[in-house]
């Protein structure tokens, strides 16, 4: 895969938006990898949490918006409480999810869910799923 890094990308409105929505300073990260080491779902991710931060610093908008990882993170906050620099990684991931969802690109479509997917699932699961995965 060929990746082009440029000053324009690093200073793009996407990076500013991620910082604004998450309330985090992306450049505080020094890539220790503790977030990815403790993430219980990292095996399902295409871009692990520490790399999400790196991609965000570099303004790699398309890679992040199309990643599987943003829909795998369940905001369990393990990364946040372990980050030695006090960065809220879960908030950074949430901001990327929100950037996608706010363009009306829902990740879960209610009418496409099968009966077996909805069957017996408690309201707490459905409401939180729709709150996190739909616009």
């Amino acid at each position: 895969m060929r990746t082009i890094i440029s000053r324009q990308k690093i200073r793009s409105p996407f990076v500013a938006k991620v910082e604004e929505l998450s309330g985090q300073n992306l450049l505080a990260c020094y890539q220790c990898g503790k977030c990815s080491a403790g993430c219980p779902n990292v095996d399902q991710m295409d871009i692990p949490p520490n790399q999400i931060i790196r991609f965000a610093q570099l303004g790699m908008e398309e890679e992040l918006k199309n990643s599987k990882s943003i829909w795998i993170c369940a905001s369990c906050m393990t990364c946040n409480v372990r980050c030695p620099k006090g960065i809220n990684i879960a908030e950074v991931i949430e901001s990327i999810r929100q950037i996608v969802l706010r363009k009306r690109n829902d990740h879960v479509e209610v009418k496409k869910l099968s009966d077996s997917e909805k069957q017996n699932v408690p309201p707490i699961a459905l409401i939180s799923c729709f709150r996190k995965f739909t616009s």
Binding site: E20, L21, P40, K118, V121, P123, I124, S128, R131
Partner: protein, 292 residues
């Protein structure tokens, strides 16, 4: 002691076993509980983006309902409700500008919210106000020989400003199990996420999580696993079906709410424990231990 209580959506249906067993236990402990009038859904998850104030209205409205009852403390049972309402409360307490905007958006409310309601989880009340010593004295049927691994998950302990226990090594449920006469079992997966709402679109991920969490509890010798969240309960109990399909060597283990353990030890009616709502029936285990 009198407490205002917020049930939330799931405690009125799939998690009725959680609500009824908790309310019966509190009655046995001499605590008066009043469900707040006109409560609404808390939103289930805290809105994490800085600009998203509208989603904090739902949790904050419940705090206004609490004040309408002349109360300044709100008890929750569900760990997700606790997390969402408490975080929204902490958010507006720390940021007057957001609180003003939220109050403006709720201009029809007669009471303005000022950040003066305290959000508490039942476990917190048991530990600090009722005290485990008092619980111990009220025990009628000690959970003798019952080995319980307490699973805390995420929302009860994280983030730091929310948790009332250690972030990496919470012990509050284990303390309760000890007070009830049971044997608490420590295990390394007690704060590892169960996958939460991914159970809707990715039950395969939940099967992985459930397999890891429950196999670990079993390896450490647990007879059953205690939880404080209806979503953890669903993922660890009902999703054992998917887990068994994916991992044929997996062996079932019953899941119980901490409140059901309390109800058992305090000699509540079996009806309050509603074991019919469990996918894995805990009754054979409880019969074997002579508890029912």
């Amino acid at each position: 002691m009198k407490l205002s209580y917020f049930p939330g959506c799931t405690l009125k249906n799939q998690a009725k076993n959680f609500e009824d067993s908790a309310l019966c236990s509190l009655k046995k402990l001499g605590v008066e509980v009043k469900e707040i009038d006109r409560w609404n859904c808390c939103g289930t998850v805290f809105s994490m983006t800085t600009d998203d104030l509208i989603h904090h209205l739902a949790p904050i409205r419940n705090l206004i309902r609490t004040k309408e009852q002349n109360s300044n403390k709100l008890m929750t049972l569900c760990a997700m409700c606790y997390n969402t309402i408490k975080r929204a409360n902490e958010r507006v307490k720390a940021d007057q500008e957001s609180l003003d905007i939220i109050n403006d958006l709720m201009y029809r409310e007669e009471i303005k919210y000022t950040g003066d309601v305290e959000v508490l989880h039942l476990l917190e009340i048991l530990k600090n106000d009722i005290t485990f010593e008092n619980v111990k004295q009220k025990v009628v049927k000690p959970l003798k020989g019952l080995k319980i691994a307490s699973y805390y998950g995420c929302y009860l302990v994280r983030p730091k400003e929310i948790g009332f226990d250690d972030l990496e090594n919470p012990i509050v449920m284990d303390e309760l199990v000890s007070a009830l006469g049971g044997n608490p079992i420590d295990f390394p997966f007690k704060t590892e996420c169960c996958g939460a709402y991914e159970t809707v679109d990715r039950p395969d991920i939940i099967a992985n999580r459930t397999y890891q969490i429950l196999s670990s509890a079993k390896n450490y010798g647990a007879d059953a696993v205690a939880v404080s969240c209806p979503l953890c309960f669903f993922n660890l109990d009902a999703r054992q079906k998917e887990t068994q399909k994916k991992f044929p060597e997996f062996k079932n283990i019953p899941i119980l709410y901490f409140s059901q353990l309390m109800a058992l030890a305090l000699d509540c009616d079996e009806e309050s424990m509603k074991f019919n709502l469990h996918y894995i029936d805990p009754k054979p285990l409880l019969k074997e231990k002579g508890l029912i």
